[in-house]
Point group: C2
Chain length 179, copies 2
């Protein structure tokens, strides 16, 4: 296991067989309810991205919102919502993909970003990379440029980084699912 | 209309007939993507709650997460997730309620808070108050004490404040649905 913040992974609970048998779910609620855990997580992202050229932060519903919005606030950037299909009220574009637990579709508002915006994508977990990859496609279809993809946890055996090979990927914890 | 932060309501888009005909949806995405709008919103909550005795911030999925997590970070508190049924992986308690657009059930982890914790509930919109009221019941069933309920927008005609009469309610914008 590699950690940018020492001891961070211990604050994340592993729940076996959720949402289905055989999956070990990385439960971030124990990290977020720990004020120091929340602070260390966000501060590590701020440290890494504070000098990068970023226009806005886009996060994927809904755990991604928790980290992404704090980062947007601290970096003084706008925060963009990427949501499951049917949740955003205005004109949207969508991308469908197959993920670890089944098919899914995510959406962004068409006016979520402007052409040329430099966008950082952030989510809690990088598994297969299918969700993040779909998020990148949404941003690019609207003329945005992906500055990077950031995650708290990257499960290295699922090779999500390979699927995101065109982008700069930064994770606070790199490890195996059962580590 | 009453606003704690002047001009804030203009940054929120109103989308007619979403999620169903006759509803005017207050679309916070335009507020959050505006870095100054996000900052002004959060800062107004920080100003109001910074000297209050609070142990943790609990927010309701998923737009509530966006404001609640920033507030938790800035006040140095833990952040607790209240989610739709089936999303939380560990042992939960649940509350069901009827809201503006139909029935719903929300959950918290049983170990989300400790007995005696002073909890601030925050969400983007106070409409009928049924969701926030269910959130308060979850916290209280776990032995927590509600410090207050905070919202960006309060739709006064729907009388949510009356449903939350046992609690201290603070909203940045008080107005009618079509204002």
């Amino acid at each position: 296991m590699k950690e940018v913040v020492s001891g961070l992974s211990k604050k994340i609970r592993r729940v076996p067989d959720f949402p289905k048998k055989g999956i070990i779910f990385w439960d971030m609620t124990t990290l977020f309810k720990d004020s120091q855990g929340l602070k260390n997580t966000v501060d590590a992202f701020v440290e890494y991205y504070k000098d990068k050229n970023i226009d806005c932060i886009a996060s994927i519903e809904s755990r991604g919102f928790i980290i992404g919005s704090v980062l947007a606030y601290l970096l003084g950037k706008g925060f963009i919502l990427i949501r499951k299909k049917g949740k955003l009220p205005y004109d949207t574009i969508e991308e469908s993909y197959v993920k670890e637990y089944g098919a899914d579709t995510i959406e962004m508002h068409k006016d979520g970003i402007e052409k040329g915006d430099k966008v950082l994508i952030i989510d809690d977990l990088l598994a297969t990379g299918d969700t993040a990859s779909a998020a990148c496609r949404l941003v690019e279809r609207l003329g945005g440029e992906i500055v990077g993809c950031a995650f708290i946890v990257e499960l290295i055996e699922l090779a999500g980084r390979k699927k995101l090979r065109d982008y700069s990927v930064f994770s606070l914890i790199q490890c195996k699912e059962d580590e």
